[in-house]
Point group: C2
Chain length 364, copies 2
């Protein structure tokens, strides 16, 4: 295996990462390459002020950290995996654009992280790198979640920057998400004698009306406006073409602002559907923007543009659960994530690297 | 193969028919036995006034008819097939009850038909027997429908009596049935940014409200009251737990009174769901009670109890399409059809045979 050159130009490093395919569940080759590069990096610089990097491996998650006795610590986090390749490998350059699976989501972000590990000899913060597996699949497999369970001390920091694609914006915190099912019941009968039954699908009419009439909140926190949403994402009912159905289920998804906990979100959903049977499917917590935290405020100042709310759920919530302020900030384009035409603007990767370098070098 | 004894007691004949299993699609052995018995019957009585029966075979449908020059003709019709056996064979007797798959639906009716073929030497009507296959499965396989396409002359008559289970009541005509789908559309979006989409499931709220608020008609014809019904029998929608759905489909079933044609029924459904996209799935016509027809009026008088509307769709509609008045009248218990505990009251089979014998012997 030819090693990754972390000192290379960040566009070239992104292309090298893209050319090591790492669809969720198949990240080992890339994780090995990242681990090897980080260990070499540690050896090469052990005489410098940065000191040797401590490297930790957990499955296909690779972590590294400095221990320079700085007063504050910043985590740089990014997932190594991609959605399935869609005939869009190897990486190819067209002018300022780098095309390929994972270019935006999020190997350009990982490239920025790794390059800083090789080229920032004297950071103002102690730093932790967290490269992890299985972000693009079910939450139970998520490598960051596994690290949080196995080695939460490795995630401890004053700020976590998750380099998911934000097109160079600071997207603060994130919405929480909750899925629940509203159950309607009835009584089966032959549809030729429908008066003997009770139609559970008809009983869903007021449930759907409540959803259609629902007015979601917009909640401002630290200057960021989180827009909520409560939506049916599935409905099913019916036994056969000649049977009055005795059951109907409406699956709803509530995206909630960071002023609500998962418990408060569930109470709200139960309140909206008062009088109906509601069962929780699953939920994930919101994350507050936490922009008042000193390391976060300094980062926002370094980026220089107004932060916005993250309208979506991301792994920043896993840091928030541990009490660690976390923001999303990365060079990729979120609108291109998961598309066949996925690409990234190379000058934006360079800009992202420059901004982070300035912030981490000076302490803001 | 031991032949069927059509002159046997009608309870014993029912048991013999039940003991020749004939789940839909596997009626050949029973059809062969019925054909053989009817052909033998013709030979045995060719010196009598009834004359030889003309026998016709179409797949596993077996038909026979007299040609005695009577002014009117009556069809006796019944299906040979049953739903799948449910550990309820062979037939067994408990007191007045005969248990087993097909006892009520409808080998007791077929036994009455066949016994009359052997023991009614001088009927007042010319008679046609129609024993057919595949009534319990999809309409396209129905043996009566096939005969109507291949040999409609064989079904020509002044009255058709379909010996489906009615517990000895005359159930006149039948409802029509129509299935349609109401389609809702929207625009997909990530559920974290639901304001970018348009939720097709929410759009179903007024459709379900119209169904819930719908007041079905009751229509009286020839003294029989047909109750209609318009019901959702299925609903489906949803892409994934994090996607605003762009499509939802509500499947409805309209059971309509005999004053409406299939075309009128579809127009009504389109009217109820005015403003929405409605597609027809399938439909089957209603059948009028036709109790004013002389052969029908005489039959009702012979039975001696007030006829009631058939709340359901049956093969009488296939006769109605050909302009032939048709009623449901049989010894089975409709509430026991398709159950594991299926049975029939033997005295009711005898009573049904006696009533039909009196009617067919005297002309009413």
């Amino acid at each position: 295996m030819r090693g990754l050159d972390l000192a290379a130009d960040v566009g070239a490093l992104t292309a090298a990462l893209v050319d090591l395919p790492s669809v969720s569940g198949s990240e080992s080759e890339l994780a090995d390459a990242v681990e090897d590069a980080l260990r070499r990096q540690g050896r090469h610089s052990r005489q410098g002020r940065q000191g040797r990097l401590e490297v930790h491996r957990d499955g296909d998650a690779v972590l590294a950290r400095t221990d320079a006795g700085r007063p504050r610590r910043v985590v740089l986090a990014g997932h190594l995996d991609t959605v399935p390749v869609a005939d869009n490998l190897p990486a190819r350059v067209e002018g300022d654009l780098l095309y390929g699976c994972g270019t935006s989501d999020m190997k350009s972000g990982v490239a920025v992280m790794l390059r800083l590990a090789a080229t920032l000899p004297d950071p103002a913060y102690d730093l932790t790198w967290v490269c992890y597996d299985n972000e693009e699949v079910e939450a139970a497999k998520n490598g960051l979640g596994r690290v949080a369970r196995n080695s939460p001390d490795w995630l401890d920091a004053d700020l976590a920057i998750v380099l998911e694609p934000t097109a160079g914006m600071v997207e603060a915190g994130c919405q929480g998400t909750l899925r629940a099912t509203v159950h309607l019941s009835g009584r089966r009968a032959h549809s030729a004698r429908s008066w003997l039954g009770s139609n559970a699908i008809h009983a869903a009419a007021p449930v759907l009306a409540r959803l259609a009439d629902y007015r979601p909140r917009s909640v401002e926190i630290d200057g960021c406006t989180y827009r909520e949403g409560l939506n049916a994402v599935g409905i099913s009912g019916g036994v056969a073409g000649n049977v009055i159905p005795d059951a109907c289920a409406v699956d709803v998804n509530y995206r909630f602002a960071p002023d609500r906990t998962e418990q408060a979100a569930l109470a709200h959903v139960r309140d909206v559907f008062g009088g109906y049977e509601v069962t929780l499917v699953d939920s994930a917590p919101s994350a507050p923007p936490s922009l008042a935290a000193p390391a976060a405020a300094a980062f926002v100042a370094a980026v220089g543009t107004a932060p916005v709310a993250k309208q979506g759920w991301t792994d920043v919530a896993r840091f928030a659960v541990l009490g660690i302020p976390a923001v999303n900030y990365g060079p990729g384009d979120p609108n291109l994530a998961h598309t066949r035409e996925e690409h990234v603007l190379v000058p934006r990767i360079t800009e992202c690297e420059r901004t982070l370098r300035a912030y981490l070098s000076t302490g803001g």
